[in-house]
């Protein structure tokens, strides 16, 4: 710009260029600071001014918000000017006209007050920032010397002021306004509110519908629509007006300051509002208010309230937000009279539409409401909506306003074509068949068949992202004035808000579900130390809440093992299990997961052609299971929907699973080691003793990772005797194991050498003391048995151990032996021996205190031990021990201790021990077998009772294996003949119930049946 006084062709061109650049600069600024920079720099540079200053109006004052001065200039400290001051800037605002001062003389003449504020400037230009009839502020330009403003400069500065004003409003509306900028909003807001006052009865009726709907949707007794301008304007109240006399500005103020929904369940406890008259008066106890916005300018609230405390749900907030969104539309609607055809009555339809949206729970319902509302627009024949949800494209939704109306059946192909067209424009109107066919060339048949000529396409956006479109076919008579376009755009915008709400709600539910899953999965992971079972359960729980399929792999010595597969469909699960082990696509993804350095997620969609119908997943995550620096396996969560699997969630789940897996693996390894060590402290197998049946049982306390202290043994001596050993070392773990080893091996050496029980115990006591292991002692019971023609001589000695039980054939149970000192405590011990003569059929039961001291709800197991043993009279030792074990396990409530049990039964003279085929005539087969085993017929013929046993034909339906074979033992007891039939356990079938009736005693237990027949002649 030159200092010349006229506008030449050359500087006109220059002016146009500058104005164009100015306009571009002002429209591109994104903050108030940027705008001030542009305004001040342009005004100073464009007119060779020394500086420029910007004031904004706040009430009756002008506030300095920025200035720009040449380097040599002193920046004036102007803060606030009263609007009534006789200064050029204030006059410009008051008169809404630019004030030009060119010389010092003019300045003194027109503005004598300036002398007091002289900053060394002579010429000034004061330009009001006008927005309609309101002045937002003033832009000042100053010169050190006199300056005659040319026409071009005046035009430039006036244009600059106009651009700045518009940019200020735009920025304020976009939420850029800070505290001082509220003054900027004030006049705009007042102006907007003034224009929205519902003076017309139709507008008031619309407003009343909104508040009535708000009250109904939120189940609130009172609802209000309030605008807050120069003064509060209650546009509409639904509910008892008397109950809300003080629902006044204060609450609206608070809601507006929040800038977001204000949700108060108990106002008396909420510091923000507790002191407000509306609350202290009791009129409002619960309050929910959402801002009503005109563009981005908050101008009031739509609120509901209750006189009692209550909670407001997310659905209440959403409903109110939607209604607030439409409130301004309704209030700004033209009066009913004289409306253009497309818009007639659209305000109430918008309210209806919002009501439908508020009641919608999913996208399908929203789209249906949208197309239904669209065909209700005057001139619209039919409507369709295409929508791409997070899960992918949904089928288009259609509606048409009548059977005779034209309708273009939008299919998937058309939907995609629509999406492509909507990349740049939010509303597109295609007029005429040619335009349609150009836009959708592959839809030629459908378009021709429908006879559609005009189409309005409106972008459907969710959170700013284009997610679909509303398509409306329009009749020829619809005026092309854009009314329908605007209305349809409004419908689409409201539908977009509803979709945003639904997606947000869904995301919330999904997020809560994922958290809940992690919590429930953690419980499962922590509750079980069985590796495979834990992984099975985890995979089962994950499908279908968080994935469509889940595969879990475990890495072992043999490579990667697929341990768990789940799918929502059992048939696909089976196919997936078979396919996954050799699928190259899966192997590739697993390789990637293992190759990553940490627990990276590998996005893994898969469409394996080798397994049609089984393996087709659009999305998923593969993650290596890593814990304590080890890769333990991998987990694959797969989904047909690309975005269903959340990476953070998968990562978190994998971390928990890996840690639990690592613990379970460590436990399993340790457990194996303990069991291996324990087995070395017990005899690998019990010896076969002629004339005796032996059984033992040992159980380490549940979930214990220490070697137990109980032990047992059977030690044969050279003289044909043998000794039963049972003991219990105090404590657990390595030290206990060392004592157990010492005791067992010491005793074995002594007893093999023929030491008597008491002497052996005494020697062991010394050995324990010599080990000098503090606080380590043990109890031991020894029974040496010497079989002879006269029977079995037993010698019992106890070193502090529970005494054994003798079970006679009659069922009598007695404790035998004498108590003695425990070992490893006293230098000398007294362990007196007890001699006992055993009869064939007698059983002795040895046990540790884990059996007798097992605690139940009513005491200890020892209280019922005799009865439990008696109840098993006649049973072979294996069955007796097994039965006692089950009884103890059922009885005990907690605090499992190690348990050991050893039982021995004295057999009678064995007449037969053979595997026999027992079908057909079992008596004949038994007789045949007996005579084969006893070449001297008197052995068999003179055995009392044997003839009756052989006649026991009940065995032919008896207790035999699947192939009809069974192990049969026949023995001669002092007063009876006993038969035992042992069937292979897997194929065992019940013994015929007739057998006990025929014979004199017996029973069936698991895989063993026995019967006794007494000698009749005795």
């Amino acid at each position: 710009m030159t200092a010349g006084g006229t506008v030449t062709g050359e500087n006109v061109q220059d002016l146009v260029t500058r104005l164009r650049l100015l306009a571009v600069a002002c429209t591109q600024v994104e903050s108030i600071d940027d705008l001030m920079g542009v305004a001040l720099a342009q005004s100073a540079a464009g007119c060779d001014a020394t500086g420029a200053v910007l004031f904004l109006r706040r009430g009756d004052a002008l506030v300095n918000v920025g200035s720009c001065w040449l380097p040599e200039a002193t920046e004036p400290r102007w803060g606030e000017l009263r609007l009534e001051a006789d200064l050029p800037l204030c006059v410009a605002v008051r008169t809404q006209r630019a004030v030009w001062v060119s010389t010092a003389a003019e300045r003194r003449r027109r503005f004598p007050a300036l002398a007091e504020r002289s900053q060394g400037f002579v010429a000034t230009a004061s330009l009001p920032l006008r927005r309609g009839d309101h002045v937002l502020g003033v832009l000042g330009v100053a010169y050190r010397g006199p300056h005659e403003f040319t026409s071009a400069e005046r035009l430039f500065l006036a244009t600059l002021a106009q651009q700045v004003a518009e940019a200020l409003v735009r920025l304020a509306d976009a939420g850029q306004a800070s505290e001082w900028q509220l003054s900027l909003q004030e006049p705009t807001r007042r102006a907007v509110i003034e224009s929205l006052r519902p003076t017309a009865p139709t507008r008031r009726a619309h407003a009343d519908r909104i508040t009535a709907l708000a009250g109904r949707l939120c189940a609130a007794p009172v609802a209000q629509l309030t605008l807050l301008g120069a003064q509060e304007v209650v546009v509409s109240t639904h509910g008892s007006a008397a109950s809300v006399p003080s629902l006044k500005r204060s609450l609206t103020d608070v809601a507006l300051r929040e800038g977001a929904p204000l949700r108060i369940s108990d106002a008396t406890r909420d510091k923000r509002v507790a002191a407000l008259p509306a609350v202290t008066s009791g009129a409002v106890h619960a309050y929910l208010g959402v801002p009503v916005r005109h563009g981005n300018l908050a101008i009031g609230t739509l609120s509901v309230s209750d006189t009692r405390p209550r909670e407001w749900g997310d659905d209440h907030v959403d409903s109110l937000t939607l209604l607030a969104e439409v409130a301004v539309d309704v209030l700004a609607a033209p009066a009913a009279n004289g409306d253009a055809a497309p818009n007639r009555g659209w305000a109430p339809r918008l309210v209806d539409f919002v009501a439908d949206l508020a009641a919608s729970d999913n996208a399908t319902q929203v789209l249906q409401a949208l197309v239904t509302a669209a065909v209700d627009t005057g001139g619209v024949d039919s409507a369709a909506a295409v929508y791409r949800s997070r899960a992918g494209a949904a089928a288009p939704t259609h509606a048409s306003s009548g059977p005779h109306r034209r309708r273009w059946p939008v299919d998937e192909s058309a939907a995609r074509a629509v999406e492509r067209r909507l990349t740049t424009s939010s509303v597109t109107r295609l007029c005429g068949a040619d335009a349609l066919l150009t836009a959708f060339p592959d839809q030629l048949p459908a378009i021709e068949a429908s006879q559609v000529t005009d189409l309005i396409v409106v972008s459907l956006r969710r959170q700013g992202e284009q997610v679909g479109a509303l398509l409306a076919t329009v009749s020829d008579v619809l005026p092309l004035d854009g009314g329908a376009d605007r209305f349809l755009s409004r419908l689409a915008a409201l539908a977009g808000s509803a979709l945003t709400r639904i997606v947000a709600q869904r995301e919330q539910v999904e997020a809560r579900a994922r958290l809940a899953f992690l919590a429930e999965a953690s419980l499962v992971l922590d509750a079980n130390l069985d590796v495979d079972e834990t992984l099975h359960r985890l995979a089962r729980m994950a499908v279908p809440p968080v994935a469509d399929a889940c595969l879990v792999y475990l890495r072992g010595n043999g490579g990667l093992e697929l341990v768990a597969v789940t799918h929502v469909d059992a048939s696909i699960e089976a196919g997936l299990r078979a396919h996954a082990v050799h699928c190259p696509a899966i192997a590739g993804h697993l390789g990637s997961a293992f190759g990553s350095t940490d627990s990276q997620l590998i996005p893994a969609g898969c469409d394996c052609a080798a397994a049609p119908g089984v393996w087709r997943y659009g999305g998923g995550q593969v993650v290596a299971l890593r814990a304590r620096g080890r890769v333990l396996g991998a987990m694959w969560l797969a989904s047909e929907q690309e975005q269903r699997i959340d990476g953070l969630f998968t990562s978190s789940l994998a971390q928990r699973a890996a840690l639990a897996l690592d613990n379970a693996l460590l436990y399993r390894e340790r457990r194996r080691a303990v069991i291996a060590l324990q087995s070395r402290l017990l005899p690998p197998r019990l010896p076969r003793l002629v004339g005796f049946d032996l059984a033992a049982w040992y159980e380490v306390a549940d979930a214990s990772l220490d070697v137990g202290g109980d032990f047992y043994d059977v030690v044969p001596a050279a003289d044909g005797s043998f000794t039963l050993v049972i003991g219990d070392v105090c404590g657990r773990g390595a030290e206990a194991a060392s004592i157990t080893g010492l005791a067992r091996h010491t005793l074995r050496v002594l007893l093999e050498d023929g030491w008597a029980p008491a002497a052996a115990l005494s020697r062991l006591n010394k050995a324990l003391l010599s080990e000098a292991v503090p606080r380590r002692f043990c109890t031991v019971l020894l029974i040496t048995m010497l079989p002879s023609e006269a029977g079995v001589e037993a010698t019992i000695a106890s070193g502090g151990h529970p005494l054994p039980l003798l079970l006679r054939r009659s069922g009598e149970v007695t404790e035998v032996g004498r108590p003695g000192h425990l070992l490893g405590v006293l230098p000398t011990v007294r362990n007196r021996e007890t001699d006992l003569k055993l009869e064939p059929g007698d059983t002795i039961v040895l046990y540790t205190d884990g059996v007798s001291e097992a605690r139940g709800t009513d005491g200890m197991f020892e209280d019922r031990l005799h009865a439990e043993v008696r109840a098993r009279a006649g049973l072979p030792p294996g069955e007796l021990v097994g039965g006692l074990r089950r009884a103890v396990t059922r009885y005990r409530q907690s605090g499992a201790d190690d348990m050991a049990m050893l039982a021995i039964r004295v057999r009678g003279r064995e007449l037969l021990h053979a595997d026999l085929q027992l079908d057909g005539d079992p008596a004949a087969r038994l007789d045949e077998a007996l005579r084969a085993a006893h070449p001297d017929p008197t052995d068999v013929d003179q055995t009392p009772g044997l003839d009756r046993l052989l006649r026991a034909s009940g065995l032919n339906n008896g207790f035999v294996g699947g192939d009809g074979t069974a192990e049969v033992v026949i023995e001669e007891l002092p007063d009876a003949i006993r038969i035992e039939v042992v069937a292979p356990a897997r194929d065992a079938t019940p013994l015929a119930p007739a057998v006990p009736h025929i014979l004199d005693g017996g029973g069936v237990h698991s895989s063993v049946a026995w019967a006794e027949v007494r000698h009749r002649d005795e």
Binding site: D361, N362, V509, E510, R512, A513, A516, F517, A519, E520, V524, D532, E533, H536, R537, R540, M541, P544, P545, V546, D548, V568, D569, A570, S571, P612, G613, V614, R616
Partner: protein, 134 residues
Amino acid sequence: MSDVLVLVEDSEEDVEAVRRALGKSHPALIVEWLPDGVTLLARMTSEAAPRPFLILLDLNLPGFGGHAALTELRNRACDAAVVVFTSSSSSRDVDDAYAAGADGYLVKPVSFELLQQALEHTVTYWLQRGDRRW
């Protein structure tokens, strides 16, 4: 495809939770509640009753249990889709359910949100099952 879902469940709380969850995700669905296995068998053999697209079957039912009911359904050549709906996630129970002819196995979550997700995906899957083209 029918829009009837049969829920065999003896716990009223669980029935209410299922109805509430499906009311949100599949409001058009008709949820038919049966309290035990006997009424399920009677219902499935009635020609008047519409064929459900899915049966959600609890295992722990009074009297004639879910497992027995499922076995009997299959013995009677009923091929309706049955998804076992139980609180147990033990692999033995899963194996037993599949051996008895279950088409799916859904572990009842404790959390309502999780239940909502589980039911939504299960029902959507079985609704589309007939039309599925891989």
